[in-house]
């Protein structure tokens, strides 16, 4: 097994801002995979939005060569992982492709909830973990304190672990040597039937889908027919190869222990879902890689073009995005208020925001997005169980025997100073307190069961603002719990506006109803006549405001030179009107929806 002896497959686990991307860049640089001057900053995150938000959305991988101090040259495969709780499953698959992981902790911040959660994921998969203390160039760096914290909280030895500055490049060699000495070489059987784990895939308009895999056993070359074990789909391999820092490098074959890519004229990433196992169609492996599940949307929202005529453009754009995002689902939906649009499913709120932003930015669309909803589980009196992801389809409460909502198991790490505020927030969000553990004398980890619909709007922001930015959050779905749910309807001028209704816990209905009618009052322009704005549950009005009638919109003076000027003014006004959505007899600009749906800003 001489060949595999020289391979090291690893990931980097780090909290947002703890320097993962910068460290990846330094590793690339030190392994001379790319010359410094050619290096586009942070090469692994190559979507604009990722870079702007400082997070990695899609995993990427790169193969590097490192000449170690023992004189040997090693093949490093660095597999990047998404750094947000919405993409937990992708993280676990990326880790599954590795034998080890670098755990990067900011020397001035310490461990965060996200880091902890991902470290546990890595430990579950028996990965060798190399702690790395980063940002030691900062004056407030506390190297020993952070090492001790890693030992106390995670329970892995950290004494003498690499202490580096990814920014300045200090001590990066320590990490590279540790990777060689500490991370085990892969031990695949290249004579066994082919078995590859898909950890990422993307659509390329020339090659079709490019699948990123870790070859566990066997080998694969072009021409071989592959089978995806969970979907059952088969394809003839067109090309295999490696991911270099410069792009895809075709190879004759890829074999056990290696990380590489496969192309097979596949038309959609929906066929190549992360976590699925690729095997040889003629000589399949006995068992698929465990733990596969199809990407499961957790949050749904209606997405509509602000200009109804752009509906086909929106459909095309969503189709293009789906080529590359198996987690995105959408189907046509019609709203009385908003016309034709799509009900879209997302992994979480971040995923939703990213999609909406990409639609607007890359496809130049103006969108109206309805309030995000989770999937509610309703047991009907008839005994039938139904799932509702769109408030518009919520049935008559009389027919519902039991209503349940999804909950998550949440872990929040926060400095002790802010525990009070965070606990209050969780209580406010109907959280069920489980326990609290001390990480050290200054930080605790709180455990809660929280309804998913309470955290999909702005929970993360609220958490940050109540902890001066120090709190960190991780959560995973934890099934359904019975709940007192009601459908809150919004009426404009006596007519229900479907796009504004939502499902809410009955204890919250009144305050949410109040808030929404107040927001509408402030955001709906005055109309020809007075418009009552009401929030109602089952036809019973619980809040009301009034949009007053328009009283003055006139140009006082209109003499010779003013006529043309006035006409221009009217043209502008007409343009503005064209953008309005007509809800019954009420004209509402798309911004109103956005303002109202961003409910929870204080």
């Amino acid at each position: 097994m001489d060949r595999q002896e020289k391979i090291r497959n690893f990931s980097i686990i780090a909290h947002i801002d703890h320097g993962k991307s910068t460290l990846a860049d330094r590793i690339l640089e030190k392994t001379q995979s790319i010359a410094t001057r050619d290096m586009e900053e942070q090469i692994l995150d190559n979507m604009d939005i990722e870079r702007e938000r400082g997070i990695t959305i899609k995993a990427r991988a790169v193969k590097l060569n490192y000449k170690a101090s023992d004189g040997e040259t090693y093949e490093f495969n660095l597999i990047d992982t998404p750094g947000h709780v919405d993409f937990n499953y992708e993280v676990s698959r990326s880790l599954g492709a590795c034998e080890g992981a670098l755990l990067v902790v900011d020397a001035t911040q310490g461990i965060e909830a996200q880091t902890l959660a991902n470290t546990y994921l890595a430990l579950e998969q028996n990965l060798e973990i190399i702690p790395v203390v980063n940002k030691i160039d900062l004056p407030s760096a506390n190297i020993e304190g952070v090492r001790k914290e890693i030992e106390d909280v995670i329970g892995i030895p950290a004494e003498g672990c690499p202490a580096v500055s990814a920014k300045t490049g200090l001590n990066i060699e320590d990490i590279l040597e540790k990777i060689v000495t500490d991370i085990p070489a892969p031990e695949g059987d290249e004579n066994a039937p082919l078995k590859c784990l898909i950890f990422d895939s993307y659509y390329d308009s020339y090659r079709g889908v490019v699948i990123y895999v870790r070859v566990m056993d066997g080998k694969l070359s072009a021409g071989q027919t592959i089978r995806l074990m969970n979907t059952g789909a088969t394809f003839e391999t067109v090309e295999v190869g490696y991911m270099s820092a410069f792009g895809l490098m075709p190879a004759k074959e890829i074999s056990a222990g290696e990380v590489g890519y496969i192309t097979a004229s596949i038309k959609s990433v929906a066929d190549t879902q992360v976590g699925d196992t690729v095997t040889d169609d003629d000589n399949p492996t006995a068992e698929a890689f465990p733990g596969f599940h199809a990407a499961q949307p957790m949050v749904y929202a209606g997405i509509y073009p602000a200009d109804g005529a752009k509906y086909p453009d929106l459909r095309d754009a969503l189709e293009k995005l789906r080529l590359n995002d198996a987690a995105l689902t959408f189907e046509p939906e019609t709203s009385i208020a908003l016309g034709f649009g799509f009900r879209c499913g997302f992994l979480g709120l971040l995923h939703m925001e990213i999609i909406a932003e990409r639609l607007e930015r890359e496809f130049n669309l103006d969108l109206v997005t309805t309030a995000p909803s989770v999937i509610y589980k309703l047991t009907m009196r008839s005994g039938e169980t139904i799932y509702i992801d769109n408030p518009a389809n919520y049935p008559d409460p009389e027919q519902i025997a039991k209503a349940e909502e999804p909950v998550v198991k949440a872990s929040i790490i926060v400095p002790t100073d802010y525990v009070g505020g965070i606990m209050e927030l969780c209580r406010d969000r109907r959280g069920d307190y489980k326990n609290m553990t001390y990480i050290d004398s200054s930080r605790v980890e709180l455990h809660y069961i929280l309804p998913l619909n309470e955290i999909i709007y702005d929970f993360f922001d609220a958490l940050k603002s109540r902890s001066k930015g120090y709190a960190s959050l991780d959560y995973e779905l934890d099934g359904y719990l019975e709940s007192k749910l009601v459908k809150l309807e919004v009426l404009l001028n006596g007519e229900v506006v479907d796009a504004l209704s939502f499902i809410v816990h009955s204890d919250k209905a009144y305050s949410r109803g109040r808030k929404i009618v107040e927001k509408l009052r402030d955001n709906i322009p005055r109309q020809l006549f007075e418009v009552p704005v009401q929030a109602a549950i089952g036809g019973r009005v619980i809040a009301r405001e009034t949009v007053r009638a328009m009283r003055k919109d006139v140009l006082a003076k209109c003499y010779g030179g003013d006529i043309t000027r006035k006409k221009k003014l009217l043209e502008k006004q007409k343009e503005g009107k064209k953008r309005m959505r007509k809800l019954g007899s009420v004209e509402v600009p798309p911004e109103t929806f956005m303002a109202v749906l961003k409910l929870d800003e204080e």
Binding site: K552, L555, L569, K574
Partner: protein, 387 residues
Amino acid sequence: MFQNQKPLGLYIHVPFCAHKCAYCDFYSITNEDLIQEYTMAITEHMRRKKRIAKNYLVDSIFFGGGTPSLLPIESFCEIMKTVREVFDISPTAEITLEANPGTLDSKKLAVYRELGINRLSLGLQSADDGELRMLSRIHTRDEFEHSYMLARMEGFTNINIDLIYALPRQTKEKLLDSIDYVISMGPEHISFYGLSIEPNTPFGRNKNIRALLPDEDEQYDMYMAACKTLESAGYLQYEISNFAKKEYGCRHNIKYWTGKEYLSFGPSATSFIDNMEYKYLPDIERYISCVKKESEIREREYMFNHEELETRFVMTFMRLRAGINAEEYKRRFGLDFEKEYSEKIERFIQSGHMVKTAYGYRLTRKGMMISNYILSDILDLLPDELE
């Protein structure tokens, strides 16, 4: 005079002010050194129109500004003389001059009368000295009253008074005090404007001003109350912002709202003639030098097509109390107004913003107050016609 002469209005812009008022965005300068050159330029400009002038009989002249009454008598005589030289003036022509209280004296007024000015428009704006100071007017109410009396004594029998409402911190009560005062003076005509905050004025640059204005509902109440008071005092509303005793509507201004032709002189002035609109440079020095060099004085010009004329027709006629005259509409555009608009207008009739008349349709007072909204709704507006 020729039998087939068409009627024409003349507008002469006098871009000089003793002082710029805080709210005003009409083109004017406070440097009076250029008056001589201006007089030369504008009279020369008029003389160049001799050829066109032959086809028209001028039945209204309007000296606007700026402050026309600021012109020295010699300059004014020179301009008036040239007007009469170049144009045929109807003996019954309405000849208006805008004047600022405080710039008038008996001698000036007598000369105006002699030169044929038969209508004076006095900018009072408010009868409250505090409000006048806030507007940075150069006169007090007493000074206005003095000027007004002088004008009456010199024999002016057609006087307009300008008033502005919706001033910062103004209440309805205060406005009605001004209205009562103006009514007590008994002018033939009252222009009653809502204050509009224009960007390139001291008011426009004052970020806090909007917060001080009466809100939309208060402004509406002010307007309604004032209109009522004016009407019960015998002033009939004939346009959104204009009231007059019977037979005293301003003939010149009515031309603007009824699509009639007008020829203008002076920087920033706009003409409309032969379905063409053109505007002169809003820059007195360039205006003067262009006239001297015989180079282009027009800042822009535009020939309106049939649809654009139709839009302008509806837009301006709707300002009038009388509203649209479907017969005249048909005569000009060959279209049936009822067929073109009744469907779009229906909702405004339902909501009480418009009514059907014996001749066509008109806005109610409530409708006038939101005429921008209504017009932008019913008109087919073609964007960017001037670009």
